[in-house]
């Protein structure tokens, strides 16, 4: 697992150095801006200006120019160099002596104190008190102590002194924390509090102690077993160790990488996952330094630069290797390396999407989904990978440069059907999740189209909901898919939701005719329902015939239910037109007329007559047919009777003619009843049908809600029929006659009854009738009496109130004004309302409503009437 994070580029080569002195050997390097300093074994400090140039091939190379050198008269190697650009100084450690030189001419600063017996020193890059005119350094001394100095242009001032148990070999400082290595143990020392925290032991015979600052209060230490241990100022570790190779000489940190140098290699580890990322062969490496982003590595003779490869390039390389996690981790740290936020976000999202497609191609759907979401995938990128799923009308063009190298799903799955289906299911779930959210980013049409197609194939149960909601799919594009998978019904629904009723209905017609098949289609009833609610009468006329031929009872519902559905305006399908239209369908037309007559309570004579005739026709037909069951005929006749009885809008004479012809006596009776020819009606009931109950009932029904005189007359008619002296069979009518007389609901004029009762009837036969009649009469007399008395009482009361009202006079004077217009009363008449308001007669438009207060005086309350006085000066 490797990635190229750095390129090794020659900086200053042996030839350039040798030209100075044959045996020159590099012992330390330092860089500050464009200034590069080299310390040598023969006590030389050489100053170069070095610059990066981009060659014609796009590669970086370095150009250097020697500025000068200084020979320190110490005859020892220069062991450490550190430039302090703010001070124009360079700190030099040579022969255990720390001195200051001018950074440009390398002249020694004579006034500057020198520090003796120095083992090593380091710069505090994160001092607690920063001051542009001074720097803070930490020095380890042979006398077993660490010292903190403040260094200015011409002075080094001791600030702190921390004694240690042994000579500190090396150290690193951050804030007030000094991380140091004594010969057997690493420590962290807080030079302000003096607190000491031991870290871990090591053996300086086997391990060269190396300490590198990583971030605030975190250091990286070389440890036994070739480990790089992370240690924070609190004495713990927050990251697992790095695994290095043996014999390291130097380690630096360049976010997010740790570079370690030994005799043969420069190894690069990422602190993000602690893994080695790159290994650069480099023979005889001795010095490695990071100088504000610039990295130099040196052997005894040569100096090279390590040029960081741009993060984006590294990430792309990782993505090519499908190392998604590493790529994302690296991308995330890129924010910290100074790209501006917006640019970073764009880059990061793109990387997330690339990573998403890699996970996608490996069927890691959960990861892919997360990445797609956070990378704000234009979902069409994904849809486009699925053959034929992207709507042909889509104006989508793939992102350039491409986010992935997937040709299509089929190729990705090498045609394996199971895997293709899994991919499709993933797309379904992804689309379902973003459906209707803002993530659709103007891809509504493509999403719905893809969903329709996918559902058609894999999840037909979901189609109805999708199609019913305002589905934005490209219908034309979906048709072949839906047809291929026999989702004809859904296709019809889709047409319908896009307003194309004709095609929808056409498909259903075919489904009903079983020219096509789709078991999800509910059948004729569905289409009827659809036409019932459709707001387009043209469609109704076009398809109703087909449905009526299929099933009249169902078909007629289109017209019946339609009128009750609120969306339809009545005039759109006029009832007359419907009745005419339905005349070809006998069952349907009856249903429709029944609907008009019984449910809509239409009073149009035409419909009533038409329905009556149709009922009658059906009775006639049944009577003619010899095979007719009795029940059937009875039912038909009772229907007819019900019609004739309840309706009063049909043309009686028309029906009566036919009915008489056919000798349908009950019907005749009803019709005569309707014509108020009660003697004829009752005559039929008594003589033709000999149905006395029916006769009695006839009287009761017809007497209902009529005045007493009529009732008496009607019952008398029946009684007279029973007791007709010309009837030779009248004896057989005695019993019904008595029953009639005894019927509570009947009313008679007693005198008239007694006149027709045959003389030979016994008093016993009549006793019940007589008693009840007498009782009724007495009752009536008493009731009337009470009523009269009550009325009289009321009359007295009113009289008294009237007198009350007239008693008080009313004085009209000149200074009284009309309450409405405010003028004086000049005429003799005026108006006064019961509440005391007085106006001109012309100002009082309504005598029941007070024109000022609006109070209503009811006309029925005698007392409330306004009084009109004719005297200007009453009393």
């Amino acid at each position: 697992m490797s990635v190229r994070a750095f390129d090794l580029v020659p900086a200053i080569e042996r030839a350039q150095l040798i030209s100075d002195k044959a045996k020159t050997e590099i012992t330390c390097i330092e860089c500050c801006g464009k200034n590069l300093y080299i310390g040598t074994g023969d006590c030389l400090i050489i100053h170069y200006i070095i610059e990066e140039k981009i060659g014609s091939n796009g590669k970086i190379h370095l150009v250097s120019e020697k500025q000068g050198y200084r020979h320190l008269a110490l005859k020892k190697p220069v062991s450490q160099l550190k430039a302090a650009s703010a001070l124009n100084r360079i700190l030099v450690l040579c022969d255990n002596m720390l001195v200051l030189l001018n950074m440009f001419d390398l002249e020694p600063i004579l006034s500057g104190t020198r520090i003796k017996n120095v083992v090593s020193f380091c710069l505090n890059e994160n001092p607690i008190k920063s001051n542009p005119f001074s720097i803070e350094i930490c020095v380890s001394l042979k006398k077993k102590c660490l010292q903190i100095y403040k260094v200015t242009e011409d002075k080094m001032t001791l600030i702190r002194d921390v004694s240690t148990t042994d000579i500190p070999i090396t150290m690193c400082i951050d804030g007030t924390f000094i991380c140091t290595a004594l010969p057997t143990q690493y420590y962290i020392i807080n030079y302000v509090t003096g607190g000491v925290q031991d870290l871990f032991p090591y053996d300086s015979n086997h391990v060269r102690p190396i300490i590198t600052r990583i971030t605030r209060e975190e250091f990286l230490l070389s440890a036994p077993g070739a480990l790089g241990m992370f240690a924070s100022a609190s004495g713990t570790s927050q990251r697992p160790p790095l695994q290095w190779s043996e014999n390291l000489v130097s380690v630096i940190y360049s976010h997010p990488y740790c570079l370690a140098l030994n005799d043969e290699f420069i190894t690069v580890h990422s602190i993000l996952d602690q893994q080695q990322k790159q290994s650069i062969p480099f023979q005889g490496g001795q010095h490695l330094g990071e100088f504000d982003g610039k990295i130099f590595v040196a052997s005894a003779q040569d100096i090279y630069a390590l040029i960081p490869i741009p993060v984006e390039k590294q990430i792309q390389a990782l993505l090519v290797d499908k190392r998604v996690k590493e790529a994302l981790d690296l991308a995330q740290v890129a924010t910290k390396t100074g790209i501006d936020k917006e640019k970073f976000l764009k880059m990061y999202q793109r990387i997330q999407l690339q990573a998403g497609f890699i996970e996608f191609s490996e069927m890691n759907f959960d990861e892919a989904q997360k990445l797609f979401r956070s990378g704000r995938l234009d979902v069409r990128e994904m849809i486009a990978i699925y053959p034929h799923l992207l709507a042909t009308s889509s104006r989508f063009v793939k992102c350039l440069p491409p986010l992935h190298d997937i040709a299509d799903i089929v190729q990705l799955c090498r045609g394996e059907e199971d895997r293709i289906i899994e991919y499709k299911r993933f797309l379904i779930s992804y689309l379902e999740e973003i459906h209707g959210t803002r993530h659709t980013l103007g891809a509504h049409m493509e999403i719905d189209t893809a969903l329709v197609k996918l559902y058609a194939e894999l999840k037909p149960d979901e189609l109805p909901i999708l199609v019913a909601s305002d589905c934005a799919c490209d219908v034309g594009d979906c048709i072949p898919y839906l047809e291929k998978h026999n989702r004809h019904h859904m296709l019809a629904l889709l047409h319908s939701s896009h307003g194309d009723h004709d095609r929808a209905l056409g498909i259903w017609t075919k489904l009903i005719k079983t020219e096509m098949e789709d078991e999800s289609f509910p059948g004729v009833a569905f289409m009827v329902e659809y036409l019932t609610h459709i707001n387009n009468s043209e469609m109704v006329w076009k398809y109703a015939d087909f449905l009526l031929e299929k099933d009249q009872l169902l078909g007629v519902k289109i017209f019946i239910d339609r009128s009750s559905s609120p969306a339809q305006s009545e005039d759109e399908l006029p009832s007359d037109q419907v009745v005419d239209y339905l005349s070809r369908y006998p069952v349907a037309v009856v249903k429709y007329l029944e609907h008009l007559v019984f449910e809509c309570k239409s009073e149009v004579e035409k419909y009533h007559t038409h329905l009556s005739v149709l009922y009658l026709d059906s009775v006639i037909r049944l009577m003619k047919d010899t095979n007719t069951q009795k029940e059937e005929l009875d039912k038909a006749r009772s229907e007819l009777c019900r019609m004739l009885q309840t309706s009063s809008h049909y043309r009686i004479q028309l029906i009566l003619g036919k009915v008489t012809e056919l000798e349908l006596y009950p019907e005749c009776a009803i019709l005569y009843g309707k014509l108020e020819e009660h003697d004829k009606a009752l005559g039929i009931l008594v003589h033709k049908l000999r149905d006395f109950d029916a006769a009695e009932n006839y009287c009761i029904v017809n007497a209902k809600d009529r005045d007493l005189n009529f009732r008496k007359r009607l019952f008398q008619v029946l009684l007279s029929i029973y007791l007709d002296p010309n009837n030779e069979r009248r004896d057989s009518f005695v019993a019904p006659a008595v029953a009639l007389l005894n019927n509570n609901k009947a009313d008679f004029d007693m005198i008239k009854v007694l006149q027709v009762i045959p003389d030979h009837w016994s008093i016993g036969l009549l006793s019940r009738f007589l008693t009840s009649s007498v009782r009724k009469a007495t009752n009536r007399y008493r009731m009337t009496h009470i009523q009269r008395m009550l009325a009289r009482g009321e009359n007295l009361q009113l009289k008294s109130e009237h007198i009350e009202l007239l008693r008080d006079g009313l004085k009209m004077t000149d200074d009284k004004l009309c309450a409405v217009c405010g003028e004086r009363f000049s005429e003799v008449t005026f108006v006064r309302y019961p509440n005391g308001i007085m106006t001109h007669t012309s100002c009082a438009p309504n005598k029941y409503i007070c024109p000022v207060t609006g109070k209503l005086f009811s006309a029925t309350q005698g007392t409330a009437l306004p009084s009109v006085d004719h005297n200007h000066d009453a009393r």
């Binding site: 077993g225 241990m229 990251r239 697992p240």
Partner: protein
């Protein structure tokens, strides 16, 4: 996972110690990933982060090899809980707990919970147990300074998953404040906040 660790301070640090090859890494892996997997011998240490309710828990797996012993002590620093692991059928691994690993716990928190686990329980037969259960219990009792409801000793198997989940659950429940205790914790932190605010004021005057 390790990349997130740099910043966030964990609420509890758990460290697992024990001789090489007793199955420490496999045990942690079994807990985090829920499955048994062959692991290479650990070098130095490794680290996993676990979310338990509102808490972040840092699980440090150390290397059992002798050459790393010095470093393991470093990884024990400020551990709130430690697992001492030995191989049920390897007597030496048990003795090394006292000899080599117990001293490392000096660096841990003062009342660090120490759980002793006999590993590879699935390999036990009637006659191959190398250490009397009594002895292991004694060790577990002895190393805990705090009072506990029961002696924290378990026999576990990363193959079967026996005593994996529940041991960690036990550790977290013992070491982390629960709902009820949580409230108390809040009060305390409120107080300290106020205190800080006040001192801050007096300083700026």
């Amino acid at each position: 996972m390790a990349s997130v660790t740099g910043k966030r301070k964990a609420d509890l640090k758990v460290v697992i110690l024990g001789a090489a090859n007793v199955g420490k890494t496999t045990y942690i892996h079994r807990y985090i990933e829920g499955k048994f997997q062959q692991k290479i011998s650990t070098i130095g240490a490794s680290f996993s982060l676990k979310q338990w309710g509102p808490y972040n828990i840092a699980l440090w797996d150390t290397a059992g090899e002798e050459r790393f012993t010095g470093l393991s002590s470093f990884y024990c620093r400020s551990a709130g809980a430690a697992i001492l692991a030995y191989d049920l059928i390897d007597e030496d691994s048990f003795h090394s707990l006292r000899a080599r690993f117990l001293p490392l716990l000096q660096a841990a928190e003062p009342n660090c919970l120490v759980v002793v686990i006999g590993m590879k329980q699935d390999l036990l037969t009637v006659d191959n147990r190398a250490v009397e259960q009594k002895e292991a219990l004694m060790l577990a009792k002895e190393v805990n300074k705090r009072t506990l409801d029961k002696i924290p000793y378990y026999e576990a198997s990363s193959v079967s998953g026996h005593n994996v989940e529940n041991v960690f659950e036990y550790i977290f429940q013992t070491c982390l404040p629960q709902e009820a205790k949580n409230l108390d914790g809040l009060h305390v932190s409120d107080l300290t906040l106020e205190e800080k605010a006040q001192t801050g004021k007096s300083c700026s005057c």
